[in-house]
């Protein structure tokens, strides 16, 4: 039988049957967006995996990310993952406090040096020596640098830790920065979102638990399994966008018919996250399904990207010209429009131009 410290043994000791374990692995496969055919491999890997030490550091944050994760009054399968890991330090959740807590952190860091997983939420303020956020008299900057030394990998949970978030927004009075702005020599996974979807956080931990490696990341360091597609690409209201059916105001007839929220400021086309498929509150709904446009909260600088209620701005070059170039290169008009949408936010910051959705619709005579 696998050794006592393995995940399999821990679950069996908690009274989880083999079928229960298989159910757990099936849910894990779903969390990691892996096909069901991988369940036997996951079961084999998890059965032998060692219980990793996890140190969670909360810096300049609102605690929303921890709340997103733990806001569950009854046990869920995702909560089991947290039982399965050895959460050696989490100053908000743990029972110990004060010197005992800091001692526990120091002990875990020493005992598992080079092997523990470091999870960070909140941004790190740099201004005035980092005095704007301290724990036990130690600046966040110093604590991060010290903890990063012995970490196997760092998971930056939430847009604050991943990109600076709200403290980083104009005028950034505390000099807040992301984890990746400070730590350059360790693998970092950015799990962005304000907050991130809980299963995305646990999915990343599950991946690390199962395979002992980092999942495939996009160019912003986010796991492709959850951030590989835009909200727009998976939105169930996409047929209305394609047909040009838009809500003009909240609660008009279009809104009540569930039409596209593009004109009401939805940032779905330029936002990458799992909200449209995985959804929130155990798959209940997500902002667009509830009638409000996407805020783009998993993207860098989303607080400074222009109004949440203004449609995505016009690009720097007029659509007609760019589409003609694209068509000449053999790309369908639809792709040209999509390409434009991806450059829209960069244009918004410098251009500050308003637009109507007609500017982004296809021109007469353009190939589809």
């Amino acid at each position: 039988m696998a050794d006592e410290n393995s995940l399999g043994a821990i679950l069996r000791a908690q009274g989880v049957s083999r079928r229960g374990f298989l159910k757990f692995c099936g849910a894990m496969a779903a969390l990691m967006a892996l096909p069901p055919s991988m369940v036997p491999a996951i079961a084999a890997a998890l059965g032998k995996a060692q219980r990793p030490s996890v140190i969670w550091l909360s810096f300049q944050e609102c605690t929303g990310c921890t709340e997103s994760l733990s806001r569950s009054h009854t046990p869920t399968l995702e909560a089991l993952i947290f039982d399965a890991i050895s959460l050696d330090y989490h100053h908000t959740l743990q029972a110990a406090s004060g010197e005992a807590a800091e001692a526990a952190r120091a002990t875990a860091m020493k005992q598992f040096f080079g092997k523990y997983l470091l999870v960070v939420d909140g941004s790190i303020p740099l201004k005035d020596g980092g005095v704007y956020s301290t724990i036990a008299g130690m600046s966040n900057l110093d604590m991060l640098q010290e903890a990063a030394k012995g970490a196997a990998a760092i998971v930056a949970v939430g847009t604050c830790a991943a990109f600076g978030g709200i403290p980083h927004a104009n005028p950034n009075p505390t000099g807040a920065v992301a984890v990746s702005d400070i730590i350059k020599n360790k693998p970092i996974i950015n799990v962005s979102g304000c907050p991130p979807i809980p299963v995305v956080i646990t999915g990343v931990l599950a991946h690390y638990l199962t395979f002992g490696t980092l999942p495939e990341l996009d160019d912003l360091g986010r796991p492709k399994a959850f951030y590989g597609e835009s909200i727009h690409d998976r939105c169930y209201r996409r047929p209305f966008y394609d047909q040009g059916k838009f809500a003009k105001t909240f609660d008009d007839e279009g809104a009540r018919n569930g039409w596209c929220l593009f004109e009401l400021g939805c940032k779905g086309p330029t936002t990458f996250n799992a909200c449209a498929t995985t959804k929130w509150n155990q798959g209940t709904s997500f902002p667009i399904e509830s009638g409000h446009g996407c805020l783009g909260c998993s993207e860098p600088n989303f607080w400074d990207a222009g109004s949440f209620y203004q449609a995505l701005s016009v690009p720097i070059t007029p659509l007609g010209k760019a589409a003609a170039i694209a068509a000449a290169a053999g790309i369908a008009g639809g792709a040209a429009i999509a390409m434009h949408n991806r450059h829209v936010k960069a244009g918004a910051k410098s251009g500050h131009q308003t637009v109507t959705v007609n500017d982004l619709e296809k021109q007469p005579g353009e190939a589809r």
């Binding site: 229960g20 096909p35 995702e78 798959g283």
Partner: protein
């Protein structure tokens, strides 16, 4: 994504199960189904003659649909919330079968109980 597209996928898996003995499964929770698609799929597949409930980390419902070989699995946690849902095309879903190691363990367990009963003179085991 619509119910019709899913039915085509299930048909392909059934063909594969029939000809090569290899089915497959479709995860329902990741799909961007339009409102009504889920119910349309349930109606299209119908309810079969066999239904089972597993109690492990919460209830899991395992039902064969009116189409033999097409099973609908709903995994819930102990609060009754759906944590995973899938359609499996197979002769018997993996989770329904008794794991081999469980069989070895029960065999050993029952032998031990009978041995103890024998020793203590208890005829009922």
């Amino acid at each position: 994504m619509s119910a019709a597209a899913l039915l085509h996928e299930i048909a392909a898996l059934l063909d594969s199960l029939d000809r090569m003995g290899q089915g497959g499964s479709v995860q329902l929770n990741g799909l961007p189904l339009l409102p009504g698609d889920y119910e349309a799929l349930q109606e299209a597949l119908g309810e079969g003659e066999l239904s089972a409930e597993l109690q492990a980390l919460g209830p899991t419902q395992i039902r064969e649909t009116a189409l033999h070989g097409v099973w609908w699995l709903t995994h819930r946690n102990s609060a009754g919330e759906v944590v995973a849902e899938s359609i499996e095309v197979t002769r018997c879903p993996d989770i329904l079968q008794t794991p081999a190691e469980d069989v070895s363990e029960s065999a050993q367990h029952l032998r031990e109980r009978l041995l103890i009963a024998c020793e203590t003179g208890d005829r009922h085991g």
